[in-house]
Amino acid sequence: MRFGPEYDPAEHEDDRPTAEPAIRTDLKLIADMIVPGSRVLDVGCGDGALLAHLVHTKGVDGRGIELSMDGVKFCVNHGLSVIQGDADTDLKDYPSDAFDYVILSQTLQAMRAPREVLLDLVRIGKHAVVSLPNFGHWRIRAWLLFMGQMPVTQRLGHQWWNTPNIHLCTITDFVDLCREVGVVIEDTVILDRFDRVRGHGFGGFANFIAEQAVFLLRRG
C-alpha cells in the first residue's frame, strides 16, 4: 500500500534519486506501461518511488499528488514535483489531456467518489493506469466464508474500523464500472500475492486468483 497515512519517512533515509532505485514489482509493472519521455501524473505518489523511477529511467516529465504532507516533503526534498492535495477534490482542477498517463496505484479504493475519480483520470490523461487490490481473491472469499469476519490480509492489513479502504471492489466490479462509464480497458495484468504476474486479461479465473490487478485504461 502506498496510501498516505502508512508512509513513514524514517524508513526512507537513503538519498534515492542519485541511483536507480529498486522498486516494488507492481510499481515496476506500472512503469513498464509508460512510454519514455511522456508526461505523467502520479496520484497518491507516496514517497515518490515510482515517480523517481520514471523520471530517472524513462525521462518522463513527472508530477505527483500526495495526501500526506510527510510524503510530499520527502518527494520535494528529493527534487520531485509533488503537491499536497486530495485526489477526491483536486483532480477537477486539471485541464483535459494534460498528461499522457495518469497513475493511481492502490488508491482508488480509498477515494470517497471512485467513479468520479476514475472519470477524471481518463479525462486528464490520454491513458490511465490503475492498480487495485482484488477483493474477489479466493483467500478473501474463504476468510469471509469460514471466519465470518472482514478479511485482513497482508495487502489489506487494516481492521474494518480503521481501514482507509472504504470502497473495495473485485476485478469484476471494476470491469463493470469501466463498462458503465465508457472507459476502455486496453490491458489488464493480474498478480498473485507474491506480486508475480499471473497473466493478462480480466476473464476466466482472474477474479479468483489475482490478489491485485493493474489496468491500462483510456476514455471510450
Binding site: 504532507m69 520535494v76 526534498n77 527534487g79 514535483s81 509533488v82 503537491i83 483536486d90 485541464p95
Partner: protein
C-alpha cells in the same frame, strides 16, 4: 519582518532610547548602485514613467560562464538588499543569513545570488526619499505611486544589465513572493524556477485593512508634515513606530506570542497602575517600533504597502488567476515551488493553495509544501529546518534539470 530581532533576550529597554537620526540611510552610500532606464524611460502602471533612476543591489557568489546559475531574491516589505553580510544601516547581519551563504540551501558556492532594494524603498533604489532630479529636492509624495509589477520591471532591467537572459530561480517571501509570481507571469522565459514563500496572489481585505492602519498612523503624526518631513527637518517616528508595531503582530502567531511572552511583566514585580510597558509583549513591540524607525523611511512605508494593496495578479488576466500562468496559450515553462506556513494568518495556506490550483489548471510544473510551524508569517525568515530541506531539495532537482552541478554531499 522581525528576523533575528524576534529573540526577546535581545530587547530590554523599558525607557525608549533617543533616536540617532544622523545614521539614517539618506546619508549612506549603498553601492553598487546602478542608473537604469537612462536611454528609454521605464513606464509605470500609474501612467507615469521613470527615467535614469537608481537601483541599489548586492550580489553574492559568482556568475558561471553561461550565466545560468543566477538566483534573484526579492525582499519583503521592510527588507533590503543586504541578504547576507553586515547591513551598513543597522550594523546587524543580513536578514536571510540562515538560508543563504556557502553550503546553505541557497548556496553561494554554487549560485550567483542577486538582491536589489525594491523600487519605492529607502536603501538606495529610487523611492520617495531620493532626490527628484526635476526639483533637486526629495520626491516625498511627488514620487509616482508604484506597483509590484513596477518593482519587477525595474529588477528585469537590472538583470538585463547584468547580461543574464534567464534567472535560474526567483525566490521571495511575503511581498517578495508577490514579486516572484509577477516575475513568472510577466517574464516566463526569463525564469527557470519560481519559489513564492508565504505569498498571496492578491492582498485580501484584511491585508489592506492592516496596511491602512499603518498608513493612518504615519499620516496622523504631525511630524509627517503632509509627506514633506525631510524638507522640514522632521521625521514621523512615532507614527512609523506604531505602524510597525501593528504590522509586527500580524507577522507572528497567537501561539508564538503566548509562548514567548504570555502575561509576563517587564523587569517589575507587579503592575505599575500606569501606562508604561508593564508587559513584556508591550516592551517587545516598542522595541520593534523604535528599531524600525532607525532604518526605514515613513514615505517608503506608505508607497510599498500601497503597492502590496494594489497587487492582484488575477485582475491583470481577466479575473482568472490561472491565465497568469499561460504562456503562448500553453502552461508556463516555469517550475514552481509554493511554500506556505501552517500558522501564517496573514497569507494563510489557503491562498497558497489557490496559487497551486491555478497552476494545476494549466498543468504547470508545481511543487507545494506547507511547513508545520507555530511561528506565523515570519517563519520564512527563521530557523525552519523543514523549509530549508525543501528549498535545498527543490533547487537541487531544478539544478539537475537545468544542467547545473548538484549539491556537494556532506555540506550543511
Amino acid at each position: 519582518m522581525c528576523s533575528s530581532e524576534c529573540d526577546p533576550a535581545k530587547f530590554m529597554p523599558t525607557e525608549q532610547p533617543a533616536l540617532d537620526t544622523a545614521t539614517v540611510g539618506a546619508d549612506l552610500e549603498h553601492e553598487p548602485r546602478l542608473m537604469l532606464a537612462t536611454s528609454r524611460p521605464m513606464p509605470l502602471d500609474c501612467g507615469e514613467q521613470l527615467r535614469s533612476f537608481p537601483v541599489a543591489y548586492r550580489t553574492f557568489g559568482s556568475l558561471n560562464a553561461d550565466k545560468s546559475n543566477a538566483i534573484l531574491i526579492c525582499h519583503a516589505l521592510t527588507g533590503d538588499q543586504y541578504v547576507i553580510g553586515r547591513n551598513p544601516v543597522t550594523g546587524k547581519p543580513g536578514w536571510w543569513e540562515i538560508a543563504v551563504g556557502p553550503g546553505r540551501p541557497i548556496d553561494t558556492d554554487r549560485f550567483f545570488v542577486i538582491c536589489a532594494n525594491a523600487l519605492g524603498g529607502c536603501m538606495g533604489t529610487a523611492g520617495p526619499r531620493e532626490i527628484d532630479p526635476a526639483t533637486g529636492e526629495p520626491y516625498g509624495l511627488n514620487f509616482p505611486v508604484i506597483t509590484i509589477a513596477d518593482m519587477v520591471r525595474a529588477q528585469k532591467l537590472l538583470v538585463d544589465h547584468l547580461g543574464i537572459s534567464q534567472l535560474f530561480a526567483v525566490i521571495g517571501g511575503s511581498m517578495g513572493g508577490m514579486q516572484v509570481l509577477q516575475w513568472a507571469s510577466d517574464y516566463p522565459d526569463s525564469v527557470f524556477a519560481a519559489l513564492p514563500l508565504a505569498a498571496a496572489p492578491r492582498h485580501s481585505a484584511q491585508n489592506i485593512a492592516f496596511g491602512e492602519v499603518g498608513r493612518q498612523a504615519i499620516m496622523a503624526d504631525p511630524d509627517w508634515c503632509g509627506g514633506n518631513y525631510v524638507r522640514q527637518g522632521k521625521r514621523p517616528e512615532r507614527g512609523l513606530a506604531v505602524a510597525r508595531m501593528a504590522a509586527h503582530i500580524t507577522y507572528l502567531s497567537e501561539t508564538a506570542l503566548q509562548r514567548k511572552f504570555g502575561r509576563n511583566l517587564q523587569d517589575r514585580a507587579g503592575f505599575t497602575y500606569g501606562f508604561g510597558a508593564d508587559f513584556q509583549v508591550e516592551s517587545y513591540l516598542r522595541y520593534q517600533g523604535n528599531a524600525f524607525v532607525e532604518r526605514f523611511d515613513a514615505n517608503s512605508y506608505l508607497y510599498i504597502t500601497r503597492a502590496m494593496d494594489y497587487f492582484d495578479l488575477a485582475r491583470e488576466h481577466g479575473g482568472v488567476l490561472s491565465r497568469a500562468f499561460l504562456h503562448n496559450g500553453r502552461a508556463t515553462p516555469v517550475r514552481f515551488c509554493v511554500i506556505s506556513f501552517s500558522s501564517d494568518w496573514l497569507f494563510p495556506t489557503a491562498v497558497s493553495r489557490e496559487i497551486v490550483h491555478s497552476l494545476n489548471a494549466v498543468a504547470a510544473n508545481v511543487s507545494f509544501v506547507e511547513v508545520t510551524t507555530d511561528k506565523g508569517h515570519d517563519a520564512f525568515l527563521l530557523d525552519e529546518p523543514e523549509l530549508h530541506q525543501v528549498l535545498s531539495g527543490f533547487l537541487d532537482g531544478c539544478a539537475t534539470h537545468r544542467g547545473l552541478p548538484r549539491r556537494r554531499r556532506g555540506l550543511r
